[in-house]
Symmetry: C2
Subunit: 212 residues, 2 copies
DNA sequence: TAGCAAACTGGCACTCAGTGGCACTTGGCA
DNA sequence: TGCCAAGTGCCACTGAGTGCCAGTTTGCTA
């Protein structure tokens, strides 16, 4: 998704509506007919948005498919300066912020997020496209940490490991969350947040796992 | 790259040669003219391979661009069963195996790997394509660990964190390695292996980094 | 409130990665 | 040596994605 800050103007609200319409049409269609069988042309017809504009709103078809999940990362990116101004273990700070970002998602987000997560599970190239946003987040975290902890050797590498752990933990949580039976209609953000917290809490010890 | 085990037959050797020719033509061309400006058609003309066969050998243009780096992961995947039969901390076992895989790369690999790594740095979609192979590796590690440590709660999640750390550490090491001045001609696998070892050794403590 | 400029839209032609189908070629093995 | 499977290249095609441009809409200021 390309950046269009929602500022309350008619313009930005109209764009947000078109985007939302596309997401709401696309994800159920992908789930029902298959990602590859549903073309961008078809989605644009149904949403009454030109294809040219589609590609102005989204970075591509995969970006559309991942919108609900990527919106969480994008929210975290938006809030990042404030988040990184806090004190405490970086992993905990980012984990809390990630949970906050999930809680900020609009009503009804869960259904689309479950559909989106399921696509990632069956299409590696969609999953891979999710990496682009996460990498942007990681780079911003690294840059901010490097500036804030200048003088601490290896701070940037540490920040990279923390982000990698956070992303992996989030991924594991989302996988568990979407795979529960009936999740399309019953999944809650509270469940997802709990799964994220549990997952991230175990990360440091996880690195000590041994083969017997 | 699609799987074509190199078994010593004429057939498999011919395929390997065609692939290698494509990689050796593509990476310098990408570096000189830009990834987007160099088309698959053009590369196939130069390598005297049909485009149809190109897409039989590679999973796509990005896969071609990442071949040197992905060959490392693929080697690790091939060796994985033997690797995971060892004892010790999983991160160390995998880290050692990763270093072994780098050492197994053919002579001259360094130059192409540096070019490949630089593409990933400037084209997020290429970087993202590298995730596909890493995710395949991760899944195999997780499956094997789950089977081997059945009864240990959370073993699969731990394995995921370990793989995430290994991949992040490798990534950091490669970035440092390729960014050294003159790396196209002077980079050595010994340097890269040392960087990987150092990077991975710091992973557990990295998760404890604090914001002041 | 009107006018202007910037932001946005859609139509259209086009490129290029990627693929199915099929006839032909090559290699491996009994 | 013959047969069959693996592999090849040609060709037509699809669909994601983009540049260009004229027209429309919106926001802002005088």
């Amino acid at each position: 998704m390309k950046t269009h800050p929602v500022t309350g103007t008619l313009r930005s609200r109209r764009i947000a509506r078109s985007r939302q319409r596309l997401v709401e049409i696309a994800l159920p269609a992908f789930a029902e007919h298959g990602y590859d069988a549903v073309t961008v042309d078809r989605l644009c017809d149904q949403a009454e948005v030109s294809k040219r504009s589609f590609f102005r709103y989204f970075d591509g078809k995969e970006d559309l498919a991942l919108t609900p999940l990527n919106d969480v990362w994008r929210t975290l990116i938006t809030d990042l300066d404030a988040v990184l101004a806090r004190s405490g273990p970086l992993l905990a700070v980012l984990g809390d912020a990630l949970v906050d970002a999930v809680e900020q998602m609009p009503p009804g987000w869960e259904r689309l997020a479950v559909l989106s997560a399921r696509l990632g599970g069956t299409h590696p190239e969609i999953d891979a496209a999710g990496v682009v946003v996460c990498e942007r987040l990681t780079q911003q975290v690294v840059d901010t940490i490097a500036a804030r902890l200048s003088g601490t050797s290896g701070a940037d590498l540490s920040a990279r490991f923390v982000c990698a752990a956070m992303i992996a933990g989030h991924r594991a949580a989302v996988d568990t969350w979407q795979s529960a039976p009936g999740a399309e209609t019953t999944a809650t953000r509270a469940e997802l947040c709990a799964l994220i917290r549990t997952s991230l809490a175990g990360a440091p010890a996880a690195l000590e796992i041994r083969l017997p």
